[in-house]
Each structure stands twice: as structure tokens, then as C-alpha cells.
Subunit: 134 residues, 4 copies
């Protein structure tokens, strides 16, 4: 039931020769919002639960220009499966939807590097914050 | 009918705290392969024909470690529409498929910034090199 | 007489395999602070006055870890010459000096690409904000 | 007595809004050349000997444009001290010197994070390859 509104600052370095934020940098913005949303959920402990991005879909809706104001990346958990879960995001730039994305994450065991069931404690937090997509 | 085998060098800077190439950097590899495939097709003239990425889907299959050997990014044109076209890619790392991706590009007019039909000359090159996906 | 305290947000993507911000990313932080200081001085117009970095010296004092709090990059104009000027910076991370740097910028003519005298209007702003190093 | 000629591939992503390689990316090129030179010296084992960049000086001589040909980064060990050593580099782009740099590295103990003497085995390799600057 939780949508995180994560502020992500732009950098001049994000610009490409068209004077727009490079499409590849939008993926950095999504990562940053995801990491910060996890911090807000007290899920930062990378040592115990490993997660990797298994799939990512991004729609680029509008070019993003440089500016001092941060983007707002709306981020929510949209699905919780057995060993994977999905997060969805919208990148808002000065009141306009600039991009949206869906990211599938898979849990793995840090030692064996094998995929594993989402640990119970982690699953409880994910499910408590699950937000169906509109 | 053309699949480009584009060598893309890794950089140590591409690594994240897991000692893997960051998932966001895989998008840089895809961009690099696309740009280099376009050079091979003599389509580099950004001044006349603008194209932007409208959508990208990436499946991450295996972690990519650092090494001196370049990746091979297989890249092909998989669809040509009215104002958009699609490119597909496979990122091969030391003989293994590490990621695959589909990228939808849209042509736009550099002056007006509006989307436009793929120009005739450009379309001819795209269609001559179209390669249906397996 | 002006020292700008520019907040620069960290990104998880800035981390390297040592779990520290990569030394190369500190250069991004310096660039970001410089661009933002210029905006505060109403000097953002890249179309008229071109400047490039001619030299940069950076001392890395402490590793920078990831965190949600922004860095504070203190930035000031330390010297104004004929066609070049210098900016100095200190990167402060959670109350500690993490890096300091000196950057020499050269003005050039956007058309001819030749170096040129700092334009009068631009020079007045630089000199009005000149801050001798401690 | 060794100067390494390390090829470093450019990426389209390296470009900034001026259509030049961003000055910050030149630091990535230096890092890449350093890492690859170390591999050639069989010094890649990050687990045992930690080194960090303590200081870097870079002179930007010419803008670097995108192209398919790699840069050649000449890299050599120019000084070996007690706990630190220096490397110098020249970035050559299509036959022209585009940048040169000096990097001071400090050895540290991976456990205690304190600086330490350069280990004997490592020192022998550094000294055997020492190349005085011209």
C-alpha cells in the first residue's frame, strides 16, 4: 500500500550530446530510487539477502533536461513471488511523467550464488508494502 | 539479414560493490553496440535524422565479471515500422549469454522535436539489414 | 568573497568494488558543484561563453561511503587570469573533509574553438566573487 | 623501464553536451589503463594488497571526440616510495596527445584500513618496471 516518492538529483554529467539526460542514466535513477526505498524499509543489509535485477522494462516518455530541481521517482512493490518480486517506478520531471519502468528482482544466496526463496522476514516487509499497479 | 557482432570493452569502473558489472552499465553496452552497428551501416549522421530510445527491455541472464577480453554484443534490426524500428541484442561474455535486450527507437525531426516517419534513405538501409528474431 | 556550499547527492551507482565511491566519481561531484555554483551566479549560458577544464588536481583524503545525506562541496573562485580562471573545492562528507581539488578553466570561442580572453561581463562576475584560498 | 601502451576503447556514452568526451571520463580512462597495466604485471590481486588513489593531477590538452578506434594510454611507474608510488600517463587520441596525468597511489592494509609499507613482492615488481619521466 506504499508508494515511495524518492527525490533523485540530476547531474550535469548525465547529459548526452543531444543535451538530454542519456537514456542509460534513467536506469541509474531507477536504481537510486530502489536503493533509497529499501533504506526506508530498513532492507539495506546487502550482506544477508542478495538481490539482483533479472529483468527491466523502461518506457521513455519525454526527454529530461538538466536542472537544479530533483526528479521525483515514484517507486512501489507491485508483485511478490516465490524467489522474485517486482518493483514499478515512474520518473517525474517538473510535473511531467518522463519515464516509467518495471524491474524484476531475484533473491539469491550470497554464498552459493543460487537463487533462493525470499526470506521470511524480507517477504513480510515486501508484502506489507505491496501496492497493486493502477 | 545482418547480425552485427560488436566488440565492447569492459571497464573496471563498470563494477559495483558485488564485484559484478552494474546492471545499469549493461545499458551502456547496448548503446555502444547500437552506435557502432549504425557506423557500420553509415548511419552516423545525427544532424539530419534524430532517433531516440522509446522503450527498452533487458533480461539479465548471468553476472558479468571484469576481464580484459571484450564482450561481444550481437545486434540486429528486428522490426521496421512507420516512425519506429526495433533492435535486438545479445550480450555474450566469455562464451555465455549474459543478457539480451530489445530496444525500440523512434525517429524525430531535429528542428521540431516531433516524431516523424523514418526517412526514405534511412528506411532502405534498415530494411535491407532487417533480421527476424529467432 | 564567496564560498558556495553546494549539496551534491550521492548515488549507489557511485560505489566501486571496495564499497567506496570510486575516485573517478569524485570528479563528477566537482563538476556538479561547479555547474551549480555557476547557476547561482547566473553564468549558465553555455551558448555564448565556452569554458573547458584545462587542468585538475585532486587530493583524496578519506574514502566516501554511500549514504542518503548529500555531500557538501565548498566551491570558490580562487584566481582570475587573462583567458583562464581557477576554482577550488572541498568535498565534505558527514562533517569530514573527503577530498579537495583545484580546477583551471579556460575560456574559448564557441565558433573558432580558440582560447579567448574572459569576456568582460563574465570577468566582472568572477572577480566580484573571487575568494583567496586559505 | 617499462611503458605500457594500453588501448582503451571510447564509448558514445562518454560524450557530453559539447560532443566531446567529458573531462571526468578521462579519469575513467586513466583508471582503466592502470588496472590493465597491473594485470600485465600480474598485480591484480585486490584481496591482499589494497591501493587507493591519494592524489591525481590531469592536464587536458585537446578535446577527445568519439570514434571507433581506441585511445592509447601510455602508462608507467614513475616513482616508488615507502608506502606510496606514482604512475604517469599520457592519453593519445588519433596520434595526438589529448591529456597527461600523474597519479599517486597509497598501499593500505585491507583489514585495518591503515596505510602500510609497500609489500616486498609488490615493491620488487614496481621497482623492476620503474621508468623515470622524461
Amino acid at each position: 500500500m506504499t508508494v515511495f516518492d524518492i527525490e533523485v538529483a540530476k547531474r550535469f554529467k548525465d547529459l548526452d550530446p543531444y543535451d538530454h539526460v542519456s537514456n542509460a542514466v534513467v536506469v541509474d535513477y531507477l536504481m537510486e530510487a530502489r536503493v533509497r526505498a529499501f533504506r526506508l524499509l530498513n532492507l539495506e543489509d546487502r550482506g544477508i539477502i542478495g538481490q539482483v535485477v533479472a529483468r527491466q522494462e523502461i518506457n521513455y516518455r519525454r526527454p529530461i533536461l538538466f536542472g537544479l530541481e530533483p526528479l521525483v521517482v515514484k517507486t512501489w512493490i507491485s508483485h511478490v513471488g516465490r524467489s522474485s518480486f517486482s518493483m514499478e517506478s515512474e520518473v517525474w520531471d517538473e510535473g511531467h511523467l518522463a519515464a516509467d519502468a518495471k524491474t524484476v528482482m531475484v533473491c539469491f544466496d550470497v554464498q552459493s550464488r543460487e537463487s533462493r526463496e525470499i526470506p521470511g522476514e524480507f517477504r513480510r516487509v515486501l508484502e506489507a508494502n505491496l501496492h497493486a499497479s493502477s
